[in-house]
């Protein structure tokens, strides 16, 4: 599957199928810090991602105090 990351913007190829939680764990990303979006839809931690999916991992932390 194609995985889009931001800050900085980059793209990864990851073999599917696998669960959202597993993908985040493999990329060492804390679930509290991101949303996972597939084709414009939010997907929860237990969702299964297919090899053909395009997935955005969107950071949610902003720096202004």
């Amino acid at each position: 599957m194609k995985v889009l990351l931001r800050n900085p913007r980059r793209e990864l190829e990851v073999d599917g199928p696998l669960r959202v939680d597993t993908l985040l764990g493999r990329l060492d990303i804390n679930r509290e810090s991101v949303l996972v979006i597939r084709s414009g839809e939010l997907v929860p931690g237990d969702a299964e991602l297919a090899d053909s999916d395009v997935v955005e991992i969107r950071p949610v932390i902003s720096g202004g105090a």
């Binding site: 997907v43 929860p44 931690g45 237990d46 949610v60 932390i61 720096g63 202004g64 105090a65």
Partner: protein
């Protein structure tokens, strides 16, 4: 994963609440949390007018949407900060949000209306850009609220923001700051009431709310905030939260209920006597307020482009 309310397919899991939600019930959950915060901390009455401090980011746009949905008369105010394309895109999101919903948005520009921008102010003052940015926002939002006859200014500070500020102030025992870290600051001495209705919702919830409501916001991080202390505190708290869901909520809300009162004397002792700025008439502890001083200091400065700015971030 099933929605806690309807047992339909869930799109988000909130470990801190031990709950999963479908889109409809997640949006209802967010509305409930904001309504609860407004009531618990006596932020706004139904007939009051509120000015939302809008940035074009997820928190302020979600806040504006939620306040309007809850029936409040909420207008927006956005400041062009002059941080290159980031500021242009942020303002464009705010404008599009207001236009699509027929809401009233007032705009001002630091460069066009006050003669400087955040990168130039950071260069001239040799301080972190967040310092000039925060100072300008506080000054201009306060003034806009008072001049527009609003009852309060609402900001999009969420639970993660407040927990991170509390964490930083606790690390250094800044007791005068701890005494004023409240979700409501009452109007006083020429300052409008300030409210933070998102203090029961985290950053992930606010981003999810925007995605589910179709709110387009600036996803990119401010290029001038990258790597700042506030972000590092948030990362540290999220690492704790992952092991102990609900830790951020407990840290901040238990502070409010059990500890904030204890620091009020320190806050009062650190507050100087307020007079009036001789230039703009805003409340100030000096003859000229910090914002007018900044305008003066940057008046002859050559505008700094982002790429040309020196290092020296905090």
């Amino acid at each position: 994963m099933k929605c806690r309310v309807c047992r339909g397919p869930a799109v988000i899991d909130l470990k801190a609440h031990n709950a999963n939600f479908c889109p409809e019930h997640f949006i209802a959950f967010c509305r409930d949390q904001v309504a609860k915060a407004i009531k618990r901390f006596d932020m706004l009455r139904p007939d009051e007018r509120v000015l939302v401090a809008v940035s074009g980011g997820k928190d302020s746009l979600a806040l504006w949407d939620l306040l309007v949905d809850l029936g409040y008369h909420a207008d927006g105010f956005v400041i062009g900060l002059g941080i290159g394309e980031y500021s242009d895109a942020s303002t464009a999101h705010a404008r599009a949000f207001a236009e699509q919903r027929g809401l009233h948005l007032t705009e001002t520009s630091l460069r066009d209306d006050h003669g400087f921008d955040v990168p130039t102010a950071a260069e001239v003052t040799r301080r972190a850009p967040c310092s000039a940015c925060g100072l300008s926002k506080r000054h201009l939002f306060d003034r806009a609220a008072l001049e527009g006859g609003y009852d309060a200014v609402a900001t999009g500070h969420n639970l993660d923001d407040e927990a991170a500020v509390l964490f930083g102030n606790t690390l250094r025992w800044n007791t005068d700051y701890l005494g004023r870290q409240r979700p409501v600051l009452p109007a006083r001495d020429g300052f409008p009431r300030k409210i933070k209705p998102l203090v029961r919702l985290g950053e992930r919830e606010m981003a999810a709310y925007c995605v589910l409501r179709g709110i387009e916001y600036i996803v990119e991080e401010c290029p001038m905030a990258a790597g700042n202390k506030h972000l590092r505190y948030k990362e540290a708290l999220n690492a704790i939260e992952a092991e102990s869901p609900g830790a951020k909520h407990a840290f901040y809300h238990e502070f409010l209920s059990k500890a904030a009162d204890r620091f009020e004397a320190d806050t009062a002792a650190a507050s100087g006597e307020l007079g009036t700025c001789e230039r703009c008439g805003s409340p100030s502890t000096n003859e000229v307020c910090a914002f007018c001083q900044l305008v003066e200091r940057t008046a002859d400065a050559v505008p700094v482009s982002l790429g040309a700015r020196r290092g020296g971030r905090r």
